[in-house]
């Protein structure tokens, strides 16, 4: 397997972009990434585009071909990738595999989504699943998880709220974040209840946005005047869907993390910053545990003691995470890695983590039989 490097990163601000189309948002992100790499579109050999809901929400398919043609990319192999919230990161993995295996030397990866809905409407991802027809909703699924985590480990509402407080604070330092407003624990807890115990500010928003990366081989990266970041690990796993599993942790995530640490030949203690799938506050707490950043059940205390703040021992979601930065579903997996690239290069401005060398991005997506469908873990290293 060959080494793969990220030589370009770009994204749009996440938020409400009612007047802009998927391809227009994608164009901005791809242009930023191409300019960042100093690469002309004709040099790209393959393209991978993550998008989860365009067919359902916009009635649009072939998003990848649309987005890439906006920046003059046509004729080459282009793949549209869907893995729910892990669509973008799965697209990244496809691009990584294509270069690692020797098929291509330079590819573009994008993630694009528009999920902003009319006020008060909940995301309608279709009713193919029986549970959805019976009233299952994403905040509800995570509310159940929160209940069991609180029951098993004594995790408190205040600890969960602290995740939102931390991430919204980080968001105020990120010009790309949807929310530029801080909250107190009280404000998070007193916001309207969506699915008990999860309140409005405990849940990530609906968002529009796009992010893109340029990947290439070591040989190409060495000839470029860019600060290249190496992809040291890329793992994708699927759920076990076992019927009576303990929902206070995700085995799918533990498997992905173990695989990534092994591939990168390092452990949780070597990681300098992390971007995780904080779709809901309880999610981030469990990700700390599943990724080995703290012991099982200790996630609530971990965020409470400030370990994961920007100035903490292991900053988590310096970008503001999905909670504050926003969550355009197919774009988030790519945006997490854009953030890590900026952080590793020292280009993260006011939210810069001190001298990071190793970054980890985790994201998971979809619901299936009480489990999640897909989970990715990527580890990036600034050699």
């Amino acid at each position: 397997m060959r080494e793969v490097f990220i030589v370009g990163a770009g994204m749009t601000q996440f938020g409400k972009h009612t007047d802009r189309s998927l391809r227009d948002l994608g164009r901005e992100a791809c242009l930023n990434a191409l300019r960042d790499a100093g690469v002309k579109p004709k040099k790209i050999e393959a393209g991978y585009c993550g998008n989860a809901l365009a067919p359902a929400i916009q009635g649009e398919t072939g998003v990848g071909q649309n987005v890439f043609w906006e920046v003059g990319i046509n004729e080459i192999p282009i793949v549209n990738v869907e893995n729910a919230c892990a669509s973008g990161s799965t697209a990244l993995r496809e691009g990584w595999m294509a270069i690692a295996s020797g098929f291509y030397d330079m590819v573009i990866v994008a993630g694009v989504e528009k999920t902003v809905m009319p006020k008060g409407a909940m995301l309608d991802v279709g009713a193919a699943e029986l549970e959805t027809k019976l009233g299952d909703v994403f905040p509800g699924q995570f509310a159940l998880i929160a209940q069991k985590h609180m029951e098993r480990y004594g995790t408190t509402r205040e600890q969960m709220a602290k995740v939102s407080v931390k991430n919204h604070f980080n968001g105020t330092l990120n010009p790309y974040a949807q929310f530029q407003k801080q909250f107190t624990v009280e404000e998070v807890l007193n916001s309207p209840v969506v699915a008990d115990p999860l309140t409005l500010f405990s849940c990530c928003p609906n968002s529009d946005g796009a992010a893109a990366l340029i990947l290439c081989s070591k040989k190409k990266a060495q000839r470029m005047k860019v600060r290249a970041v190496r992809i040291a690990a890329s793992i994708l796993t699927s759920g076990t869907y076992s019927n009576q599993r303990d929902i206070t942790g995700w085995e799918i995530e533990k498997r992905a993390a173990e695989g990534a640490y092994q591939m990168a030949s390092l452990g949780p203690k070597d990681v300098d910053l992390v971007e995780v799938h904080d779709a809901f506050t309880i999610s981030e707490i469990i990700h700390y545990e599943d990724l080995g950043l703290c012991a099982p059940g200790e996630g609530g205390r971990f965020v409470e003691e400030g370990a994961t703040e920007l100035s903490g021992r292991i900053p988590v979601n310096p970008s503001g995470g999905l909670l504050a930065k926003g969550h355009p579903v197919g774009a988030s997996g790519v945006a997490q890695v854009v953030e890590i690239v900026w952080q590793l290069r020292g280009e993260a401005g006011k939210r810069q983590v001190k001298n990071p060398r190793v970054g980890l991005a985790q994201i998971m997506g979809g619901y299936k039989e009480g489990d999640t469908r897909a989970c990715t873990v990527h580890i990036l290293i600034k050699d």
Binding site: D124, V125, L130, K133, L134, P139, A143, V193, V194, D196
Partner: protein
């Protein structure tokens, strides 16, 4: 069943999904969810599966009726109408059926939505979950407290 002016029978309901339970049932009949069980490994599946994922073609799927008694594993109260038309506030979660060693998804009714709690004993009921845009009742299954 209603009848129109031509004395034709009109069905005023439809099932949320086929094959989940028998409907309608007589007043003295016990409602039951229809599941199936692999004869090789003994695992129970609801809704029914065509193939055992653990035994592949070595297992044979046998239809069974689940016991109606369950214990709440986890529950929540949703305060927004679901995109599929379930009206808030409503409670739902997962129920473990001890007799069949299987966990099923379910709505919780028969008590204040916030009154449900893990460990609570509940039992199956078959009733409408909503009215569709044509005014038809959509029949589903739920769990209510054991009185």
């Amino acid at each position: 069943m209603e009848k129109n002016s031509l004395n034709e029978t009109i069905q005023t309901w439809s099932l949320v999904e086929e094959g989940l339970f028998e409907y309608p049932i007589a007043d003295n009949q016990v409602p039951a969810l229809l599941a199936n069980r692999c004869t090789k490994c003994g695992k129970t599946f609801f809704p029914k599966r065509s193939l055992c994922p653990y035994c592949f073609e070595k297992g044979e799927m046998k239809e069974i009726r689940l016991d109606r008694r369950g214990v709440i594993y986890a529950c929540t109260v949703v305060h927004r109408n679901s995109p599929t038309g379930i009206v808030a506030p409503y409670a739902y979660g997962y129920v473990d059926i001890p007799v069949n060693k299987v966990r099923v998804f379910g709505l919780f009714v028969g008590s204040d939505p916030s009154s449900f709690t893990p460990g609570q004993e509940v039992q199956l009921v078959i009733e409408p979950i909503k009215i569709d845009h044509q005014g038809k009742q959509i029949i589903g299954y739920k769990f209510k407290p054991v009185s």
